[in-house]
Amino acid sequence: MKEKLIFDLSTPGRKAYSLPELDVPQVDLASLVPRDIVRQEEPELPEVSEVDVVRHFTRLSQMNYGVDTGFYPLGSCTMKYNPKINEDMARLPGFALAHPYQGEELSQGALKLIYDLDKYLSEIAGMERITLQPAAGAHGELTGILIIKAYHEYRGDFKRKKVIVPDSAHGTNPATASLCGYDTIEIKSNSRGLVDLDELKKVVGEDTAALMLTNPNTLGLFEEEILKIADIVHEAGGLLYYDGANMNAIMGYARPGDMGFDVIHFNLHKTFSTPHGGGGPGSGPVGVKNFLVPFLPRPTVEYDPRREHYYFDYDRPQSIGKVKAFYGNFGVAIKAYTYILALGGKGLKEASELAVLNANYLKEQLKENYQVPLDRVCKHEFIITPEKKVKEKGIHTLDIAKRLIDYGFHPPTIYFPLIVEEAMMIEPTETENKETLDAFVQALIKISQEALENPELLHNAPHSTYVSRFNEAEAARKPILRWKPNK
């Protein structure tokens, strides 16, 4: 049965609330706000009973798919399992009921958590200080590039107009550069899928503000010449920005700070097991080397050992200012803090080890039935493409992804990075066992056979879901963004 919209379940007079008697004098709304902004018509809110609401949303939730339901190998997104202890800690009343205006004296625990998380993340990244303010990854990028811009301008250097990004970069990198007023210069990767040093040397110069890079890159490959890359950019006076999307591959093994990066953003909602996607807000802390600390957003959290007191430091004249209300998505910081303490240094290293091992295991298992364009030891993710004979049947990566849904798996990232045609980007993460990985391999192998024997099955997939294949082009061309009453 088709699930109706909640508006279509509406029956006049039904309600799911009961308000207490009004025990204060009633005031005319128009006496409180300008008359012309007081709504004249009733809003057409759905009129439904409590049981209608509960059943409607429970049914919707049962159609959902998340990492608590099954394997979710969405490349570059690190959809790892989020341990439930994180939720327990974030719900401790001292944290959950804290109010940002309750003052330093009553917030010492929360401030200590911010202060300690700064230290832990700094140690993991090889940076001097961290700000927890940015709300998610792209916001972290914006903050990081604004810091770089502030640094150049503070030195009176206004000639730096360009940010260099490789052609395998996340789309947010050029978008960030552009939002900060920079021109983006794209450089082509070499045949090994890495930054081409000669191409880099060609474009780098005294107008270079920064190079933005992910390491391992979006092909899941480690930029082996990162130290040379850093030298080239630094010699020209530019800075290095580390996009932390792929941090899950290197925790405890390699530090962006040691590679020569000056600024980094983390995605706590990827690497540090906090909810992701529809599950909650993100968090994109930004870390910097010592010489950039004065430019960090304010306030920072400091500790006065004499008074044994944590406090906000607003007296930071070179700061780029606040980038978010209060101190970032604090609830998310609690969960990441819990994760780091629960795993410890050894556990974080093991997480990265297993993430890399799982990816390499899958890659080897899939080699016979799929093409692996860059076939060597990968980090936490890798790319496959359909075999030529499959493509000749008119099967695209999109069809394979949709068919995976019928086998109970969330499809991997597809058509990214852009430099690999028909790319399917698989990131298993460390939290999956061998049985799950094997079942995923079997499904993909079965699909490659179906593609040859019964291509229509793939073209129309998924078949087992509440709704079948969407017309994605039409949805993008003529989106229907709101419900309108049938009158």
Binding site: G171, A473, A476, R477
Partner: protein, 122 residues
């Protein structure tokens, strides 16, 4: 697939040196998949060959359109704003993107045969 009266670029744009119209090739529209949005330049703006003159967005990717020649934009295909699918349906006809007053930059262009060789290599 690749009309002989057009000239081509390595970035998969075409230009008709008689009508001065510019668009993207059959190969480009096929690689992009269903085009869902096109960003057009303003009329009167001048470009050098190789400059980004607009953006095509498909369900798969967002790509820059690079100017095959140098010159000034004299017309843009406003039908694409409502019907971006014209690029998929008729890349050399109703899917044209803009018209330019050409001032130079034709030297680097490929003829149909050379362009076809290029995409066969890819």
């Amino acid at each position: 697939m690749y009309p002989k009266n057009l000239k081509y670029t390595k970035e998969h744009e075409w230009v008709n040196l008689e009508t001065k119209k510019i668009g993207i090739t059959h190969y480009a529209q096929e690689a992009l998949g269903d085009v869902v949005f096109v960003e057009l330049p303003e009329i009167g703006v001048e470009f050098e060959a190789g400059d980004s003159i607009g953006v095509v967005e498909s369900v798969k990717a967002v790509s820059d359109i690079y100017s095959p020649v140098s010159g000034k934009v004299v017309a843009v295909n406003e039908d694409l704003l409502d019907s971006p699918e014209l690029i998929n349906q008729d890349p050399y006809g109703k899917g044209w993107i803009l018209e330019m007053e050409i001032t130079g930059g034709e030297e680097e262009l490929l003829d149909a045969e050379a362009y076809q060789r290029l995409i066969e290599e890819e």
